[in-house]
Amino acid sequence: MDQQSVQVIVETLKEQGIDLVVTLPEEPTYALTEAVRQDSFFTAVTVAGEGNGIAFCAGAALGGRRVAFVTGVAGLLVSSWALSQMGMVYGAPILILASYRGDFGDHSGIPGSQLLMFKQVAEPLLGALRVPYRVVNQKATLKRMLQEGSFACQDYSHPIALLLSGEVLW
């Protein structure tokens, strides 16, 4: 993710009042989580497992914090159990920014069989877990997608996911 996209995301998170950002570091979104970590506006929390990350976000969100969880498709898989509870059962408003590993355009160098799995699984997984999502792959519409996603998240009172891909991510 280049600094331009990082800045748009950081700025928009601030405008949306999202001051708690939770992650387990992963390469594609590292530049974003690093920028967040070094910006005193945010409380940045690093979790040891994405499952406990989503549950943590839910506790903070239902408690009134505006929170974002930054992860990737692998993290969504690991946190499926937590998402089923915190999303479908409890409707905790969590904004999930997830790198869309395996989407067309992923030149990160991860082996193809893994990328294929991520591509095949990502959207059906979110569908199975009833997490509304959008694929965000254009810089021109990045800000608007974040604003709309954040609004929907609060309005639905439900996790929503923005799958970051294309020129936004790579």
């Binding site: 406990n52 549950a55 509870q85």
Partner: protein
């Protein structure tokens, strides 16, 4: 030692502005009958009680948040203890009722070789204890509530004899969430909408 007797000792120590989070099994049914006011998030499924409570500490940093978890539930995600240690919230208290079994089946085992207190220490939580008597429970919990944490207390209890059910409209799922959110919205420290 019985879980219910411990929870009865705990209830008067929890003031109306503190938060509690319970795991499944009789933690929920018992606690819901003992603490009727305040914000209680009840019936968290396996592995989710501690991290959810941890998240609450980020929303209410000036109030004690007490997680009432069970051995099997914690074991599903002991990595949450690493996160607790790393975040290091002063207002966090975890009480794990360890009866060495999973609920509502025949005989099962959980912590045959595992020592949950030692795992917590390995994870980096310094203020830990294991208690086996009501006196020790009382003293430990009082200390946890009166001092800065994070605190982690394992309570060795016998398996409950009967199955106990709480009111499903207050103690589980979406219905419980509405009661919880109502209490949260009325909380003096609430900053959300």
């Amino acid at each position: 030692m019985k879980r219910y007797d411990c929870l009865k000792l705990l209830a008067p120590m929890v003031d109306k502005h503190m938060f509690t989070v319970t795991s499944l099994s009789s933690n929920t049914a018992f606690w819901s009958s003992l603490r009727l006011e305040g914000a209680n998030f009840l019936g968290c499924n396996m592995g989710l009680c501690i991290p959810f409570a941890l998240g609450l500490t980020a929303a209410f940093p000036d109030r004690k948040v007490i997680a009432l978890d069970s051995d099997g539930s914690l074991m599903v995600d002991t990595s949450s203890l690493i996160t607790v240690a790393d975040v290091n919230p002063l207002n966090f208290v975890a009480i794990i009722f360890d009866n060495g079994s999973y609920a509502r089946m025949g005989a099962t085992f959980t912590t045959r070789r595992a020592d949950l207190e030692k795992i917590a220490q390995g994870a980096g939580i310094d203020k830990t204890a294991t208690v086996r008597s009501e006196e020790a429970f009382s003293a430990s919990v009082k200390q946890a509530i009166d001092t800065a944490g994070p605190h982690f207390i394992v309570v060795k209890v016998e398996p409950d004899r009967e199955r106990v059910k709480g009111d499903p409209h207050r103690t589980y799922g979406r219905a419980m969430r509405e009661w919880f959110m109502d209490a949260v919205r009325h909380h003096p420290d609430y900053k959300g909408k």
